[in-house]
């Protein structure tokens, strides 16, 4: 029992020794530097809520500047990344005095979450260049060490107003970007009272907006500048003698480009501007740098403006005269007036015939003044005959046969033709050239051949024995004069022509059959050509020989002697016409005079 009492006593003794420390030692660890003033058991509930850990309300009770931002839905703590989180999720404590309760990775921080996106040069600017006490408006916030609060999004809250409040706006971003202060790329001079035109657009700003000293500080002046008159900025080279309205003559494009182009009526000068003349600057023709401004534009007085060479150089060195407009127009020197005007004879190559109608560019493919080879037709034209007229390796010039007037007609004469290998005779003289020289739309002048069959078709082939025209030489029978003029000796055949046969035409016997005239295989019997009008009355052994009674010279009278027949004529019979006895009878549908009588008694005729 004594021992137990001693134990308990020891415990309480120890407890008593420790109790003073116990009270002060509830904290699980030192608070961070920012919260150091909250150390001590009496301060626990400054942050902790009994029964409910640490609440955001407790934190924001002290951190009112953050609460204000959250309530205004502004800043990083109101962003989607933070909203809904417990404060202690990022800012826990009791991790020692040196603990960084705000661990901030400035490189990885997405500034967009604050509601102010960093752009341009801001992206590479050190955080503390902006987040400094100087830029914090609120005195309370300025007291806070290392705070990122208190900045204004207005440029002027961090940057110095280089314009010293002389501009109509304080919104720097209306002219400047965050990339660089100068140039002020967003400034639109056209929206100012002095819109920039012409050369003014290219002019450096500082040329007009000079640097002045204001409040002992240099400043580029952008406001309060006179600009009503050009002379406010520019020096009047005319010393005021031509008035103050520069724009009546000059434009902003260039001092040397005059509004006179538009306003001045050049027609009154006797030299109306046409074509390109309308577009060129006045200074192209008029001398602008004259000593006496009164003499500006008067430099063509007493000069002949009717000829171009007064102003322009004659690139042809006078070779084509001085009437430039014969060839050239005022639209362009290179645009040649081809239809009329230019006398081509001046060039040494007069245009004749078809050449007069050809467009200049057909021959003058480059500049008009570039020399064109013209000694031969082939200098420009292709050899239509494709080398058929080559002599000594040289193509004969077209002009030997053709003229400039037409290519289709030729001046090649019959005499020239006859001097060749195939003189023209007979009907060939009247034959057009194309009959022989045009083959399937191709003109052929070489290797045509000289035999008749080289041009003509042998119509007798297979119908006439070649022994009568060896080597298919048509000239054996025909001449070049006319085809029907036949010169053939029929005696060389088996059928010698006699009597009437010598006078009739060939075609009377050699009749065309289906457009082919047959010469071979015709029998020599009379019946081969002639009809037998006596039917078969005189037929002997199946053949009727006409020559027993008829002669080749003529058909009648017949050489028949009636007295050699069975019935000798005598008495009155000598005077009786043949037909009195020999009557016509119908045999096989045609009338045939009956000469051979069956009966010769008197009663046969006389009843």
């Amino acid at each position: 029992m004594r021992r137990r009492v001693r134990h308990i006593g020891s415990v309480f003794l120890l407890a008593a020794c420790l109790i003073s420390n116990v009270v002060a030692q509830i904290s699980p660890g030192d608070l961070s530097k920012g919260h150091a003033q909250l150390e001590g058991i009496s301060n626990c509930t400054q942050c902790h809520v009994l029964g409910n850990k640490v609440t955001n309300e407790k934190c924001l009770d002290c951190h009112k500047e953050i609460k204000t931002r959250i309530d205004e839905r502004k800043g990083y703590h109101a962003s989607s990344e933070v909203r809904g989180k417990d404060c202690f999720a990022c800012h826990s404590d009791h991790h020692g005095r040196a603990f960084q309760i705000i661990r901030f990775d400035s490189d990885a921080f997405d500034h967009r979450l604050t509601g102010y996106t960093l752009t341009g040069a801001h992206k590479t600017t050190d955080c503390r260049a902006c987040h400094t006490d100087e830029n914090i408006e609120s005195a309370d916030l300025r007291k806070k060490e290392h705070t990122y609060l208190g900045l204004n999004t207005a440029c002027i809250s961090c940057h110095v107003d280089e314009h010293q409040n002389t501009l109509s706006t304080r919104d720097c971003a209306s002219c400047h970007t965050t990339d660089e202060f100068a140039p002020a790329v967003l400034f639109d001079h056209d929206k100012s009272k002095f819109p920039l035109k012409g050369k003014h657009r290219e002019t450096d700003c500082a040329s007009c907006h000079e640097t002045v000293v204001k409040n002992n500080k240099e400043m580029q002046q952008f406001t309060g500048m006179p600009f009503a008159s050009c002379a406010d900025c520019h020096h009047d080279v005319h010393d005021g003698r031509l008035g103050t309205n520069c724009a009546s003559c000059h434009t902003e494009e260039s001092f040397h480009v005059f509004t006179g182009n538009n306003d001045f009526n050049h027609n009154v000068t006797g030299f109306p501007l046409k074509g390109r003349h309308k577009k060129v600057s006045c200074a192209s023709c008029h001398q602008t740098s004259v000593s006496d401004p009164e003499m500006v534009f008067k430099d063509y007085r007493n000069k002949d403006v009717s000829t171009c060479v007064t102003c322009h150089d004659d690139v042809h060195d006078g070779k084509f005269g001085t009437s430039c407009t014969n060839c050239h127009t005022e639209e362009s020197f290179r645009q040649i007036n081809t239809s009329e005007g230019f006398d081509h004879t001046l060039t040494g190559y007069p245009l004749i015939g078809k050449h007069e109608e050809v467009d200049c560019k057909k021959c003058h493919e480059t500049r008009m003044t570039d020399p064109v080879e013209h000694s031969q037709c082939l200098s420009c034209h292709e050899d239509f005959h494709k080398g058929q007229f080559i002599e000594k390796d040289q193509v004969k010039d077209c002009a030997l046969c053709h003229t400039e007037h037409t290519f289709a007609e030729t001046k090649f004469t019959i005499e020239q033709h006859n001097a060749g290998a195939f003189p023209l005779e007979g009907a060939h003289l009247a034959t057009p050239c194309f009959s022989c020289h045009l083959e399937e739309e191709e003109w052929v002048f070489r290797d045509l051949g000289q035999a008749c069959v080289d041009c003509h078709t042998d119509i007798h082939a297979g119908l006439l024995d070649v022994k009568y025209y060896p080597d298919t030489d048509c000239n054996k029978c025909h001449t070049t004069d006319a085809w029907p003029d036949i010169n053939f000796d029929h005696a060389v055949t088996e059928f010698v022509l006699e009597g009437r046969h010598t006078t009739i035409s060939c075609g009377a016997c050699h009749r065309p059959e289906e457009e082919e005239v047959v010469f071979a295989g015709i029998p020599s019997q009379c019946s081969a050509c002639h009809d037998n009008i006596h039917d078969r009355q005189f037929e002997e052994n199946g053949e009727t020989d006409c020559r027993r009674c008829h002669m080749p010279e003529q058909w009648s009278p017949s050489t028949f002697d009636h007295n050699t027949s069975r019935f000798v004529l005598d008495g009155a019979h000598k005077e009786v016409a043949c037909g009195a006895c020999h009557k016509e009878q119908m045999i096989e549908g045609r009338g045939v005079v009956q000469y051979k009588m069956e009966r010769i008694d008197c009663a046969a005729c006389h009843l």
């Binding site: 415990v11 030692q25 699980p28 902790h48 991790h95």
Partner: protein, 289 residues
């Protein structure tokens, strides 16, 4: 419980304790090696911080293990009305197990951050554990029955004599040899003025000397090697018994003082732990509930 079963029982408890320690070390070593200021930015901070789901859980489980270990053992030991369930020796071993693993879990619960009121509890716990280790050493120096009752000096001397006799009987040593061994191992008279540490130093020297002499005596006999080892083991036990008899008084005195240290520290630990838990609950840290 047989000797084999007891060894398995002890081995299992040690394996569990070591496994838990190794597992927690492996899991959290990068976090625990991180400085206090940097820990909140460690990826495991949410889980392993003392108020995190795991860290807080370790504290709660560790506390429960300690409470069970302490009060279970006290109940078994003090309350004579309760039936004596299991030998006190095994209860003590289980008490040591729970009160080792529990503090181990609490060590990881603290995340090796020792500060504030609760550090008193923690260091008290450390003191209790260390005193427990010392107490365990003192405890085994005082021979007891298996139920934990201390043996009297007479009982111990009888045990020693019985052991000496068995030496002669078991190995049938010749009388001369037996006498010479007994003579060699006999406890030297202690100098009454001798201090504890000086006496311990002297005993260690004497033990070495005695074993060397017995070895020398045995080398001149014709005993087999196996029997020689058996004799040497018995001689060692003899020396151990001699040492314990000579230490007994000092140890019994020391053990009483030890109680004065072990128990108060445990009470301090428990009281502050209650305060710690109360504060924790008061501020709304209810673990997963």
């Amino acid at each position: 419980m047989t000797g084999r079963a007891h060894r398995i029982y002890i081995g299992t408890l040690i394996a569990i304790g070591v496994s838990i320690f190794l597992f927690l070390c492996y899991w959290g070593y990068t976090y625990y090696l991180t400085s206090i200021e940097e820990r909140p930015f460690h990826e495991d901070h949410t889980m392993l911080k003392p108020s995190g789901p795991i860290g807080h859980g370790l504290g709660i489980v560790g506390t429960l293990l300690i409470l069970i270990g302490v009060f279970g053992y006290i109940l078994r030991k003090k309350n004579k009305l309760l039936p004596k369930v299991g030998a006190l020796k095994y209860w003590l071993e289980f008490h040591i197990f729970l009160c080792s693993v529990g503090p181990l879990l609490i060590l990881f619960h603290t995340a090796f951050k020792f500060g504030g009121i609760v550090s008193i509890s923690f260091w008290s716990m450390v003191a209790v554990v260390l005193s427990g280790v010392i107490g365990r050493f003192i405890y085994i120096q005082i021979p007891r029955t298996i139920h934990g009752r201390e043996l009297s000096l007479g009982e111990i001397t009888a045990m020693k004599n019985e052991m000496s006799e068995s030496l002669g009987k078991k190995y049938k040593l010749p009388d001369a040899l037996y006498e010479s061994i007994i003579d060699v191992t006999k406890q030297k008279e202690a100098d009454g003025q001798e201090g504890f540490f000086k006496a311990e130093s002297r005993r260690r020297k004497e033990k070495k000397e005695t074993l060397r002499k017995v070895k020398s005596i045995l080398s001149e006999t014709e005993l087999q090697q196996k029997d020689k080892r058996g004799v040497m083991d018995l001689v060692r036990n003899e020396i151990k018994m001699n040492t314990r008899i000579s230490r007994l008084q000092a140890m019994q005195k020391l053990f009483r003082y030890w109680h004065v240290a072990h128990l108060p520290f445990a009470l301090i630990m428990l009281v502050i732990m209650v305060i710690h838990v109360a504060i924790t609950l008061a501020f709304g840290y209810r673990w997963i509930f």
